[in-house]
């Protein structure tokens, strides 16, 4: 294993496909775990709208059915991020990342507001298009080296093409859309704080992990 993640702490092998923890990925995994627990126990915030020109405000309430769905999606998102942190196989990693993308769309799209739905639709299209570079990168790595196992690729001797690494990072960017969040402020008009934070956290985590993968292989 290359030096970026540190020494292996734990390896669980299923033949060629394996799961492992390094100090780096274990830290990210614990982050995802803590936030998943927070999402389970936390109550959603009640968003406040100030009335201009007056001294009043509205407190928006999240209906029970919507809350239940968004909480489920947020938990699924946390589990998918944990899986992406622990996976030692590039294709499994891409599958977990695309699951993070789907659940992020689900968290936001449960809100029945036109602005939020419009933003979620645009985000969903980017997430869907993002699967092309994501799976394309993984398939290129498989096609040129013949293996998908990250530890095997890390030992050297394989020439992983640069374009495959770029495609992989691009795909994760599309799924997590972390750099585009500033432009998609409409999404955050969706009330319900802990669930929306899960979107940001999961995209941050998958992005940090792909940096490790791209440098290691």
């Amino acid at each position: 294993m290359s030096d970026i993640g540190g020494v292996d702490l734990f390896v669980l092998e299923f033949g060629d496909i394996l799961h492992y923890f390094t100090p780096y990925s274990l830290t990210l995994f614990i982050f995802a775990l803590i936030f998943t627990v927070l999402v389970i126990v936390a109550r959603p915030e009640r968003q406040l709208d100030i009335v201009f020109g007056g001294d009043a405000y509205y407190a928006k309430k999240t209906p029970i059915s919507e809350r239940r769905f968004r909480r489920f999606m947020a938990i699924a998102c946390g589990l998918a991020s944990m899986g992406a942190m622990a996976s030692g196989d590039i294709f499994n990693y891409t599958l977990f990342v695309s699951m993070v993308g789907i659940t992020n769309v689900g968290i936001v799209a449960a809100v029945k507001s036109r602005h939020v739905l419009n933003a979620a639709y645009e985000y969903g299209i980017v997430a869907m298009v993002g699967t092309l570079p994501l799976f394309g990168g993984a398939a290129l790595i498989l096609g040129t080296t013949g293996t998908l196992s990250i530890p095997a690729l890390a030992t050297g001797g394989y020439a992983v093409p640069l374009v495959a690494k770029i495609l992989l990072a691009l795909g994760v960017t599309g799924e997590g859309m972390a750099p585009f969040y500033a432009a998609k402020a409409e999404m955050f008009r969706a009330p319900g704080a802990p669930y929306v934070i899960m979107c940001s956290l999961s995209s941050l985590l998958i992005f940090l992990r792909v940096v490790e993968i791209v440098i290691t292989i």
């Binding site: 789907i102 419009n118 799976f135």
Partner: protein, 199 residues
Amino acid sequence: MILTYSIGLFVAFAVTGIAFFALMRETDGLHRLLLTDLVEVVTLAFIALVGTDLAEALILPGLVVGTSELIALSEIYRVKEGFNRPPSDGLQIEVMETAPPILAALLVGYGIILSGFSGGAVAGLGVIFYFLSRDHHERFEVIETASGYSWVIWIVAFFTFMIFPERWFFAVMLAGSAILVKVMAKMSIIGTMRGGPNV
């Protein structure tokens, strides 16, 4: 690198370019949704180009991810645009009243002979056709129960393979018939996807 693989990669990248260009030019929401499906197909082509058994196994999860994203997005689009079409009475054509039982029986019979995954697909096609052209106020609990039991049988066959490898023929027969029922039950639900009760 093998020449065929390089040519295939080149074609796939060219198609990617075309798809992204179309996606950039298109402004209508529904058309963009359809164009993302074009991008998904190129994704599968990238995986298929590897051309090994592993690639074959990787196509299935790729396809599932693409399909689930497409379904989620079309649901968002439907809610966003406020499309709530009342369920219609189906196709009002005379031949649709008489032909379905015969065709469905033929397809289901042929599917049972084929057995396994492809048999399930053929038989499922027959059931889809039947449900599409007839009323579908059927008892879905029966289909769901059959699907659940066939899943259990499939798992039993799986364990038989691992624990009693000498009974492989029995396990193959179990798995083949169970997967037939399972795929057929799953596919038959597609035939009823036009709203209304029970769905």
